[in-house]
Amino acid sequence: MSRLQLSVLTSACAVGILDPVASPLLSVYGEIDLEIASHRLGPTGVEFYLAMEPDLPHLANQPAITSGSLTGVLPPNSNRPVNAVEILGAMLPQQLERSADLINRVIRSRDSDRTIVAVATFFPEISRSNEMGYPARQQAVNALANSLRLAAILNRDFKHRIAALEAVTGSRIRILEKTEDADPLSESDKGSQHTIALDRPEVVRERLIGSLADAWSQLDGDPLKEFAPPVALELEPGPCFLLQDEHSLTELAGLLDGTPTLNGLVGFNLDIAHFRIANVSLDAVCGVHSIRDRILHAHVSGHHRCAHFGDGVIEADDEGEIRRWLKFLTELWSAADRERRTSKGLAQFSGYVSLELEATRCAADVIESARRISGWIP
């Protein structure tokens, strides 16, 4: 059985890492290597977060978006709002190649052997209804397809080992609109109101599957397809999210079982914190092959028992519970599991668990968490 390895998500640095002068995270990988060497773990892998807003103009080879193009009011060179699906969805092949080159150069700027092992995205529009009146869903499909191409170029041309592309599944919110006050919940503020309509989960699930199929179909006939990693869908705790708990996980796994065209192309990202907050038990994941065999990658972070305030430092108190999950992830590398996946035409587990401390307070928190978790990896 191979050993589970540690990787770190670049989203720890929310100010972006593609600006060469603003990449305080990059030195952290080397420091973690030193910390975890005593646990006989290999060099720390990189999980590259593709949708960090300050990085997007660099990816699109647009170092400065002109004033008014997106915000209408903000001056150039500010930390302006940009939309990930708009930018990534519109990228041309040449831009993708230049972006892959840029990412490779930045990631290997301190260590020529540093390897990207996974890519993370955030395109919640992927399952959105077209009723929103904005072509966000199609843009999200395009963005996902381009993300797959980008990852494939990094694998093919730069010898990275990207084994999973993590993606969220979006929410059940179908439409948000202004309506006249037909049924006021409040006894005051009569007049117009903003109403949110939810879609039934099965409708959104079908839409998601359609989007995933559309994204992959864009790579049909493209030589990059064989280098593209499978998509690992992430559960997010909360009643409006599509993939939010054990039930929705089971339902989506069942739907994937019934969609053989996506075999080997779509699976799950096991975010230990999210699973624990959502009360998804390890037993439920372990014992259900349609879920277990689709786990492609994993995230780990510290967290509150029942809330997602953010990614916290991994604490010693979590040792027992997190060790159990890590042991399970290690078992995904077993010969029996690998053979079963092969026979079903499913993709293999990445072999990495990524430390996710999104927009963390300081580098020391990342290093401290890495030191702690590395001692728990079986």
């Binding site: 529009e125 948000l176 919940l185 029942c306 809330a307 305030f309 401390l357």
Partner: protein, 536 residues
């Protein structure tokens, strides 16, 4: 690692939001500053992420976290708060939803909004030093900020989208304060979507929740707590001062670390209709010595005053309360009578008393006052209560001489009803210890003697097997503390807070039959021996 320049913050938050953040800093610092240096960083926020989800946006899900340095302390204040990127949010909404939401008015509403504080954690030392008991939650490390603030009081301002969502904001703060017992802590979107109506209709309005819906959300499996809509109407004790009883009840809850959501009239609290001269004297916001009147409290026809919710987070011995107002600031002070004056205005079919919701662990089935029955007709007396009846109603029947008891319970000492009340988590030694000490609070008592008596009572409590039948107990201290064997001590009643009253119809006979809710009665002092023990 994620620090950002103040210029970027200004661009993304906007001038009105920055002004509000600055005002809040001054408020938290006690108005001692001329200028407050800031430090900002990008940070996750459970609230902004939830709002993005609600609005169908992928960004800005991160907030801007603000720290505050206090030069006189040569260090950082133990507070931090997440700012909404209001300008960015307005841009993103406009770009995503276009005119569907009523732009440009909607855009202006967001961009010009003073409600910039998403979630935050605030150290209440300043208010504790002033004699307040203040509720806090151990959330600093979960925000990755244990270095700045280990424990603090949560606060947020609600996002105003057409209608206010103060109820959701209060629920969030209260649930955070009960984080040890909640099944999950939800953001605004999830709280709104958790009402039965939303689940049934598969749609919901971005507005506040009614009091009943707040209770419903608290009791949902997802949140895993409970709440009771209680009112100040006291049909069972007409000769008592209802307001004084409410004060006792609120203090009992707060000293038991139970937050209380109070329904008030925003117009009265904020003084929306008052002139500048009247404002500082005649409304709660004005009387809190804000250095300037916030612009948004001035009369705004488009924002009529109405039902509003605040959450009580602290109290002092003199019936002054601290509350977090999601429409303004945390730690606002108000007396009991001020809050009573701000109660929801009388309307046909509605209760004409102060209404509030204690936010309790799910297993607690006996509140302190109980739920008043709502009458659809204002001419009909509403002074009955629907189950569950409160501890005070039962104790009034059992402990005051006006009523016959069943004869099974000991006679209570005269005077001082309802005494000192605390909710106790018998699984938590700290909770038991604190409540035992509270039962012997007496200014004339030597601290060592008090500690001895409290320890003695704690041993008696722990040795009584009957108390193992449930986790949650109410302690009620009545009468004097007896220091030695020759004294005539008062009593400590231990009530089963999980007592199931069923749905028996309203009658005194049924109430009297509820003596089974009393686990035991102990001497309040001397040997702390049990003088009554119920049957398991």
């Amino acid at each position: 690692m994620n620090q950002i320049d103040v210029q970027i913050v200004r661009e993304q938050v906007g001038p009105i939001g920055m002004k509000m953040a600055d005002s809040l800093c001054r408020w938290l610092a006690g108005g001692k500053y001329k200028s407050v240096p800031f430090e900002f960083r990008i940070a996750p926020s459970i609230i902004t992420r939830s709002e993005c989800e609600l609005l169908g946006l992928s960004a800005p899900r991160f907030a801007i976290r603000k720290y505050v340095d206090e030069p006189s302390r040569s260090g950082r204040l133990p507070i931090f708060f997440n700012l909404r990127r209001l300008v960015w949010l307005a841009n993103a909404i406009e770009r995503t939803h276009g005119n569907r939401l009523g732009a440009p008015e909607f855009r202006e509403e967001i961009e010009q909004s003073p409600y910039v504080i998403a979630d935050s954690l605030l150290d209440p030392s300043r208010f504790r030093a002033a004699g307040f008991h203040v509720l806090t939650a151990d959330l600093g490390r979960h925000y990755g900020e244990s270095v700045v603030c280990e424990r603090g009081t949560p606060f947020l301002q609600h996002l105003k989208l057409g209608g206010g969502m103060c109820a959701q904001a209060c629920l969030f703060m209260a649930i955070c304060l009960q984080e040890r017992y909640a099944n999950s802590i939800l953001g605004v979107a999830e709280l709104t979507a958790s009402t039965k109506k939303a689940l049934n209709d598969q749609k919901f309005s971005l507005r506040g929740l009614t009091a009943e819906q707040m209770v419903e959300v608290l009791r949902s499996h997802r949140v895993g707590l409970t709440g009771f809509l209680e009112g100040s109407a006291l049909h069972f004790a007409n000769q008592q001062d209802p307001l004084a009883i409410v004060g006792t009840v609120w203090k009992a809850y707060l000293h038991s670390n139970v937050p209380v959501i109070v329904l008030v009239d925003l117009g009265v609290v904020s003084g929306a209709k008052l002139t500048a001269a009247e404002w500082t004297e005649r409304c709660i916001w004005g009387r809190n010595h804000l250095t300037v009147r916030p612009d948004f409290t001035k009369p705004q026809p488009a924002h009529p005053p109405g039902q509003h919710a605040v959450v009580l987070v602290g109290c002092s011995g003199d019936n002054t309360f601290l509350f977090n107002d999601p429409a303004l600031f945390p730690f606002l002070k108000a007396s009991l009578s001020e809050l009573n004056e701000a109660r929801i205005p009388e309307k046909p079919g509605k209760l004409q008393c102060m209404q509030f919701i204690p936010v309790l662990p799910a297993a607690v089935r006996m509140p302190l006052l109980g739920q008043p029955m709502r009458s659809p007709d204002p001419k009909i007396d509403y002074s009955h209560r629907v189950p569950p009846r409160g501890l005070l109603e039962l104790s009034f029947r059992f402990q005051t001489p006006n009523f016959q008891t069943t004869g099974r319970l000991p006679k209570a000492p005269p005077g001082g009803w309802p005494g000192m009340i605390r909710l106790v988590d018998s699984n938590d030694d700290d909770s038991v210890t604190a409540a035992c000490r509270a039962m012997f609070l007496d200014n004339n008592l030597d601290p060592d003697v008090r500690a001895t008596l409290a320890g003695r009572f704690q041993r008696s409590f722990r040795q009584n097997q009957l108390h193992n039948t449930g986790r949650w107990k109410w302690f009620q201290g009545l009468g004097p503390v007896g220091v030695d064997a020759n004294a005539h001590p008062g009593q400590i009643w231990v009530w089963n807070a999980e007592f199931n009253q069923g749905i028996a119809p309203v009658s005194i006979a049924n109430v009297l039959n509820m003596y089974k809710a009393v686990d035991a009665v102990y001497e309040r002092g001397a040997g702390c021996f049990p003088t009554f023990t119920g049957s398991p």
